[in-house]
C-alpha cells in the first residue's frame, strides 16, 4: 500500500477520521490506533515482516529500560552492543547476507580456489534500513543519556512503526519524535491544511515527474548498450530528476501526513539541486540520513577534531558506509566513494562550509557565478547517479563508456518524442515552483498564500488536474522502498 495507491487514498482518511474521533479517550488509545494502522500498512507488503518490527521493537524497548536502570558502565556498554548486534544482525542477514556470500566465493575463485555456495533466497523487508536506524538511534541516545528510556511500550511501538515514515523515512531521532507520542495532540486546522498542501506537492513530484521520467530512464538503462551517448546523458539527467522527485516527493507526503495527525517530522530535503557545491548538496540531500551518519558514525570516529588524515578517513568512511547502506552492491559503494572524492577537495581547501545560505540570498555574491556553480554541481551529481542507477558496477562503467563517445553530440533517440517533450515541460514547471519556494520548507508552502482564496484554490485544482492528467497510471513503487 504505497502513498500513491488507491488503497492508501481510502486507508488514510479512515485512519485520520478515527484518530481524531477517539482523541477524547486519550493519547494511549490514539497511539494504539496508530500502531494498528501502521501494522496494517506494513502488512500490505508482507504480513510476516510485522513480526520483525515487533521483535526489533521489543529488543530495543527492553534494552532501553535496562540501560536506564544500569549504572555500571561496562554492563551499559554490553547492553548497547547487544542492541547494535541484534539490530545490525537482522539488517545484515536480510540485506547483506547474499552480498557477502557472493564476494566470499569471488575472492576464493580469484585465488584459484573453486568454491560454490548457493545464495540464500531471502526477501528484503520493505524499509528495513530505515526503521533499524531509527531504533538504533534510540538505544544509542539512551546509552549516551541524552534521553530517558521510554516506559510505555505502545508509544514506543508507535514511534518505531509510525506509518507515514516507516518505509522510507525521514529517519527520526527518538529525541524529536518519541516525546510527541507522549503528549496530547490537538487538531490544528492550519497545520492540517498545510499538511495537505505538502502532500499535494509531494504527490505531484512523485506521480507526475518521477514516474514519467522513470519510463524513459528504465528503457534507456536497460538498453544502454544500443543507444547513443546523448540518449544516455539525457537518461542520466532524467534519473537525477526522477530520484529527487521520487524521494523528496515521498518525504513531503510523509511529513504532510504526519502533520495531519499532529506530528512534526524533520525536514529531509532542502532543494538540493540548487546547491552550489557538492558539500552544500550533501547538507540538503536526505538530511535525516546524513545527519544520522554525522551523529552516530562521523563524530564517534573523531569527527573534525583530529589530524587531517584521520578526518579524511572519517569522511571517506561515512561516504562508503552511506553508499553501502543504500544497497548490498559494489555500485552503491562506488557511488559513495565518488561522492567522497568530490567532497574531499572542498574539505581540504576549507570550502566545505562556504555555501550556508540559499542561492541568490546574498547580494554581494555574483548571481551569474552562483548559477554556473549550481549547474556544474548538478552535472557532477548527475554523473554520480549513474553508479546508483546501474544494475551493477560493470554496467555503470559500460554506461560511461557508451556515453562518452562521438554519439554524445547526436540527437537523443527517444521513442515517444511528444511525451518526452511534455515531461520536460513539467520538469521545468516543477523546478520553477521549487526555485520560487526555495527558502521555505517545501515548494508550495507559501506560494500564493497572500492571494485570494479563489486564486489559491484554482491553483490547487490545477495541480490536482496535472496529477490526474499526467500521472503514470501504472502504480510505480518508490525507489527508496528497496532500501
Amino acid at each position: 500500500m504505497s502513498f500513491n495507491s488507491f488503497d492508501f487514498a481510502i486507508f488514510l482518511p479512515l485512519v485520520f477520521v478515527s484518530y481524531w474521533l477517539i482523541a477524547k479517550w486519550g493519547i494511549r488509545v490514539q497511539n494504539l490506533l496508530l500502531v494498528i494502522a501502521s501494522f496494517i500498512f506494513y502488512a500490505s507488503w508482507d504480513w510476516r515482516f510485522c513480526f520483525l518490527i515487533l521483535a526489533s521493537s521489543c529488543i530495543d524497548f527492553l534494552l532501553g529500560l535496562a540501560l536506564g536502570k544500569q549504572k555500571n558502565s561496562k554492563k551499559r556498554k554490553l547492553l548497547l552492543w547487544t542492541s547494535l548486534a541484534s539490530n545490525l544482525g537482522i539488517l545484515a542477514f536480510f540485506k547483506y547476507c547474499n552480498f557477502f556470500l557472493e564476494n566470499f566465493v569471488s575472492v576464493f575463485s580469484f585465488f584459484g580456489q573453486e568454491f560454490s555456495l548457493a545464495s540464500l533466497d531471502i526477501i528484503l523487508p520493505v524499509g528495513i534500513s530505515f526503521y533499524t536506524f531509527q531504533t538504533l538511534s534510540y538505544t544509542i541516545d539512551v546509552y549516551r543519556q541524552k534521553i530517558k528510556p521510554n516506559e510505555d511500550f505502545i508509544s514506543f511501538l508507535a514511534f518505531v512503526s509510525f506509518f507515514p515514515q516507516l518505509v522510507a523515512g525521514p529517519i527520526e531521532r527518538a529525541k524529536n519524535l518519541l516525546p510527541q507520542f507522549q503528549t496530547k495532540r490537538v487538531f490544528n486546522p492550519t497545520e492540517a491544511r498545510d499538511g495537505l498542501r505538502q502532500i499535494l506537492w509531494g504527490l505531484f513530484k512523485k506521480v507526475v515527474i518521477a514516474d514519467s521520467c522513470a519510463v524513459i530512464v528504465e528503457y534507456t538503462f536497460t538498453n544502454s548498450y544500443e543507444l547513443s551517448g546523448s540518449t544516455l546523458l539525457l537518461a542520466a539527467f532524467l534519473f537525477s530528476i526522477q530520484i529527487y522527485c521520487d524521494f523528496s516527493g515521498y518525504s513531503d507526503m510523509a511529513i504532510g501526513i504526519a502533520r495531519l495527525f499532529g506530528f512534526d517530522l524533520m525536514k529531509n530535503f532542502a532543494f538540493p539541486y540548487f546547491s552550489r557545491d557538492v558539500a552544500e548538496f550533501w547538507r540538503r540531500w536526505h538530511i535525516s540520513l546524513t545527519s544520522w551518519f554525522k551523529d552516530y558514525v562521523y563524530i564517534p570516529l573523531g569527527g573534525s577534531r583530529a589530524s587531517k588524515l584521520k578526518v579524511l578517513r572519517n569522511v571517506v568512511v561515512v561516504f562508503l558506509v552511506s553508499g553501502f547502506w543504500h544497497g548490498a552492491s559494489w555500485n552503491y559503494i562506488a557511488w559513495g566513494f565518488v561522492n567522497a572524492l568530490l567532497f574531499i577537495p572542498l574539505f581540504l581547501s576549507s570550502k566545505n562550509r562556504s555555501q550556508l545560505d540559499n542561492i541568490g540570498d546574498d547580494p554581494n555574491k555574483n548571481i551569474l557565478r552562483e548559477t554556473i556553480n549550481m549547474s556544474l554541481t548538478f552535472m557532477l551529481i548527475t554523473l554520480t547517479w549513474i553508479f546508483f542507477r546501474a544494475d551493477d558496477i560493470t554496467h555503470a562503467f559500460l554506461y560511461f563508456q557508451n556515453m562518452f563517445n562521438s554519439s554524445l553530440f547526436s540527437i537523443p533517440q527517444v521513442e515517444k518524442k511528444g511525451t518526452a517533450l511534455m515531461t520536460m515541460i513539467l520538469i521545468l514547471f516543477m523546478l520553477f515552483v521549487e526555485w520560487i519556494g526555495r527558502r521555505n520548507e517545501y515548494g508550495i508552502e507559501k506560494l500564493l498564500l497572500k492571494k485570494s482564496k479563489n486564486i489559491r484554490w484554482t491553483y490547487y485544482a490545477f495541480l490536482v488536474f496535472l496529477i490526474l492528467m499526467y500521472a503514470e497510471t501504472n502504480e510505480t513503487p518508490f525507489i527508496y522502498f528497496q532500501f
Partner: protein, 292 residues
C-alpha cells in the same frame, strides 16, 4: 468544477501528446464506432461473437452467412471480460442470440482492461453500464475518458463523425468482421508472460456466464489460433486451459487445428484471410457436430 473545466478544455484544445491520461478517439482501430451503429439495427441473431481483435479479425461473418447463420461480431480492441460483460448487459436482450462464441485468451484474462474501456467509452454514448465499468477499472485514463465522453455525449459533439469503412488496410465487413489486406507474418519476438486470472476479470467473466445462463443462451469459450510462438509465450498455458474447461464448453483451436505460422497469419496473433477461412470452417464443423 475547475478540474472538469480544465479536463474539457484540455480535451478540446490540446494535441494528443499533451493529453497523457485523456485518450478519447472516435473510430480508433477496430471500427468500433461502425460496429456499435450496426449493432443498434440488429435484432434476434443466431450467433453473437465477443472478444478482442482475435474475435473481430477471426470470426468472419460472411462465412457464417454463407451457411445461412446470422452472426454479429462484437469484438473490440483488447476486449476483456469486463467490457464483454458491459456489451452483453447492453445488447443481449436486443440481439437475443441463440449462441454466443466468446473468444478467450490468457492475456485478456490477465489484463487490466483499460485500453478496451477507452474504445467503448469513445464510440457509443455512455450510460450507467459504462459508469460502473469505469468504477470497476478505477484507472485515471478510464475516469478521464468517461468524464470527457459524458461531456461530448451531452453536447452531441460526435454527431458529425463518419467512420471510413476502409482504413490502414482494414475493411469493415457487415456483421462486425474486419478483414485485413492479405499479408504474411514474419517471426517476431514475443515476451514470455504468466497467466494470472485478474480478480476483476474473473468476477466479470463469471457474471457474464451467469447472464448467458439466465437468458438461456448457449456459450462456447473459444481460443482462436495464434502462431505457435505466441501460444508458447504463455508459460502456464495448461493452467489457462484447465481453468477454461472448468467453466464449460471450451475449444482451444491451437490444439485442434494445424496452421502455418508464416502462411496463415499476418502477425504473431492474427490470422490472415487464408487462416480465417480454415479456422471458421473448422469451427462451424465442430459447432454443427456438437449442437446436433
Amino acid at each position: 468544477m475547475v478540474y472538469l473545466f480544465l479536463l474539457i478544455a484540455w480535451g478540446e484544445l490540446f494535441p494528443s501528446f499533451m493529453k497523457k491520461n485523456l485518450y478519447y478517439k472516435l473510430g480508433d482501430t477496430g471500427h468500433m464506432f461502425t460496429r456499435f451503429q450496426e449493432a443498434n439495427t440488429k435484432r434476434n441473431i443466431d450467433i453473437l461473437c465477443l472478444g478482442s481483435s482475435l474475435s473481430y479479425r477471426g470470426f468472419d461473418t460472411r462465412i457464417f452467412k454463407a451457411m445461412d447463420i446470422e452472426c454479429f461480431n462484437f469484438g473490440s480492441s483488447s476486449q476483456t471480460p469486463i467490457q464483454s460483460h458491459l456489451l452483453a448487459k447492453r445488447y443481449l436482450k436486443q440481439l437475443n442470440p441463440k449462441l454466443v462464441l466468446f473468444q478467450v485468451d490468457p492475456e485478456a484474462f490477465s489484463a487490466d482492461g483499460v485500453e478496451s474501456s477507452l474504445d467503448i467509452i469513445a464510440n457509443e454514448p455512455n450510460d450507467r453500464y459504462s459508469f460502473f465499468m469505469t468504477l470497476k477499472i478505477l484507472n485515471l485514463k478510464t475516469i478521464n475518458a468517461f468524464i470527457y465522453g459524458c461531456y461530448r455525449d451531452l453536447f452531441n459533439r460526435n454527431k458529425k463523425f463518419n467512420e471510413e469503412q476502409v482504413k490502414n488496410g482494414d475493411s469493415y465487413i457487415k456483421g462486425g468482421f474486419v478483414e485485413k489486406e492479405l499479408a504474411y507474418a514474419q517471426k517476431s519476438k514475443i515476451p514470455k508472460y504468466n497467466f494470472e486470472f485478474d480478480k476483476k476479470q474473473k468476477s466479470s467473466f463469471e457474471a457474464l456466464l451467469r447472464l448467458f445462463k439466465d437468458q438461456g443462451t448457449d456459450c462456447y469459450l473459444i481460443y482462436p489460433p495464434v502462431t505457435s510462438y505466441a501460444y508458447k509465450s504463455c508459460s502456464n498455458i495448461e493452467v489457462f486451459d484447465s481453468t477454461m474447461y472448468s467453466y464449460g464448453h471450451f475449444l482451444d483451436f491451437n490444439q485442434q487445428l494445424e496452421l502455418s505460422d508464416s502462411l496463415d497469419f499476418y502477425d504473431g496473433y492474427h490470422l490472415n484471410q487464408n487462416g480465417v477461412n480454415k479456422f471458421n470452417k473448422s469451427l462451424l464443423k465442430i459447432i454443427d457436430f456438437q449442437s446436433n
